[in-house]
Amino acid sequence: MRHRSWHNPSRAFLIALVLFFTAVSGARAELLIRITEGAGSAIPVAVVPFAESGQMPAGEKVSSIVQSNLTMTGEFRTLAPDKMLSLPSKREEVYFRDWRLLGQRYVLVGALTRSGDRVQARYELFDVNREERILGETAAAPASNMRSLAHHISDKVYEAITGVPGAFSTKLAYVTLDTANGKPRYRLQVSDVDGKRARIRLESQEPILSPAWSPDGKKLAYVSFETGKPVIFVHELSSGERTKVADFPGLNSAPAWSDDGRSLLMTLSKDGNAEIYRMNLASRELTKLTNHWAIDTEPTWDASGRGIFFTSDRSGGPQIYHMETPGAEPRRITFGSRYNARPRPDNDGKFVYYVHQRDRAFHIARTELKTGEETILTRTESDESPSVAPNGRMLIYATRQEGTNVLTVISADGGAAYSLPASEGDVREPAWGPLVR
């Protein structure tokens, strides 16, 4: 847990990257990154442009993708290449004194070699103070897939410096709403975490809600109103095959996968009131886990995979509850205000994140489970749908900015990072995909 001082927004001057959707060839939309704030106490890293031999594919350079990935987290400050005194590509060319003079803590160098339709990257990361190589690897990818190669290198560099796996190779799922032609168009999309390579997976005139990633990253469960009411579908991304898994009278909503991918938690109101169930996906067998006149919804497994967080208004307003085991007597977690909902666990069992009302505003907050201490993490005021990155370091949520819905990424303890507004409509319902090895 090094290098945390930047997280304090009052002291740090923060980095925020703003990503905009731009319409690309009709229905496709991508994100652009714009840095709006900088981080004073972030770790200085120099990402030296990689040497190249052979024909390289057109498009963004691998090293510049790595650089923007690292900057995006808010944990790093990168050095512009034109400020560098030399452009080394291997160890023998690295003069540590030069990089020390430039105030750099780490230097990443590398070279790309084209062979056939693949590109190989050889890269090394150096600790400037200790004058040591802390990472050295070669990796290859199809020439058409330089972005994945860059995300892989970013993951390795992030892990070498912080000790935590990077999440740059993970995916985001989200829903956009385009009302430009009078008719609403809801689009379920999947993109890289930097918003690039967005692909539409489902388009509907009716609302799409609550996308949830299967643990292997191959499927999404979600709620679609395409039949006129909320119904849960499971959608296999590679084939596009969709299965209606819950279409009972009343609500079919808030799907959440178990760690083994074999069951879904969900909210059903088939017996007249919103209750939480677990569905075995193979047999479709249901187990009822709550039984209360109140609204019980928004279930999610906790970090251990044994207990369940959920929202219930059994105390009069929505609050977060935890069941040690499915069906056990729930324990109330949140007390700080009259509206706390939509829990999401971190990945090591320390915190639960949720939507928290304070005065008239809705923020993202977290409670430390051991102490019950609550911290409000956001300064934005219409916040919804928190989703924690699989490495636990960042969190994405939906909020409003100048009248439209945008996605914003913050560090898990509250530093601002970047936001993803959509130029041709709203973005909502972000779900951060799993780490897939």
Partner: protein, 189 residues
């Protein structure tokens, strides 16, 4: 006891009146057998016998007043039924006082028109979380459904659906937009 005796006497008077009324009708129809003209006269006479000239006037105007009241009531009910959207306070599903008469009118209409179905759509404003709002919209729709059933509609006529915060009536993030979006809509099919 006194009261009971009085009310018995009143009931007796009423029943006498009713009997008298019946016999008058009976008489009229008997006399009616002589011919339509005579019948008309006799009807008048009949009225005179049981009501008197003055009362004849009162009686006939009482009839139209009744009709007028019925018509007025019908118009009122119809006007009430033109209201099909009902509003709620934040995070509640409590039917407001001003909605009750309107919902009673809808319930009566449904009771009188068993072939008529209605979809009850529950909505929430954009504040708070989407899934909780989905459940809140359902709770609002269910509250209206129960109210309609209690007041005469039958369950088979009613279908509920919640859209949560997904289908706002008014765009925007103001108190007034929120107030208009926390609603239940009746859609007659």
């Amino acid at each position: 006891m006194n009261f009971s005796a009085q009310s018995k006497a009143f009931a007796l008077l009423l029943s006498v009146g009713l009997v008298a009324g019946c016999s008058s009708t009976g008489g009229t129809s008997e006399e009616g057998e002589y011919g339509s003209d005579v019948s008309a006269v006799d009807q008048d006479g009949g009225s005179t016998v049981y009501g008197g000239d003055d009362q004849d006037g009162v009686s006939s105007s009482a009839m139209t007043e009744e009709e007028r009241m019925e018509a007025r009531e019908q118009a009122e009910q119809q006007a009430l039924r033109e209201i099909t959207v009902f509003y709620f306070d934040f995070d509640t599903a409590e039917i407001k006082q001003e909605a009750r008469d309107v919902l009673v009118a809808h319930a009566r209409f449904l009771a009188n028109n068993p072939g008529q179905n209605v979809r009850i759509e529950g909505h929430a404003d954009e504040r708070g979380t989407k899934e909780y709002n989905l459940a809140l919209g359902e709770r609002r729709a269910n509250a209206v459904q129960r109210f309609l059933i209690v007041n005469g509609a039958s369950r088979g006529q009613l279908e509920t659906v919640s859209y949560g915060e997904e289908k706002p009536a008014v765009m925007g993030s103001s108190e007034s937009a929120w107030a208009q979006n926390r609603r239940v809509e009746l859609v007659f099919e």
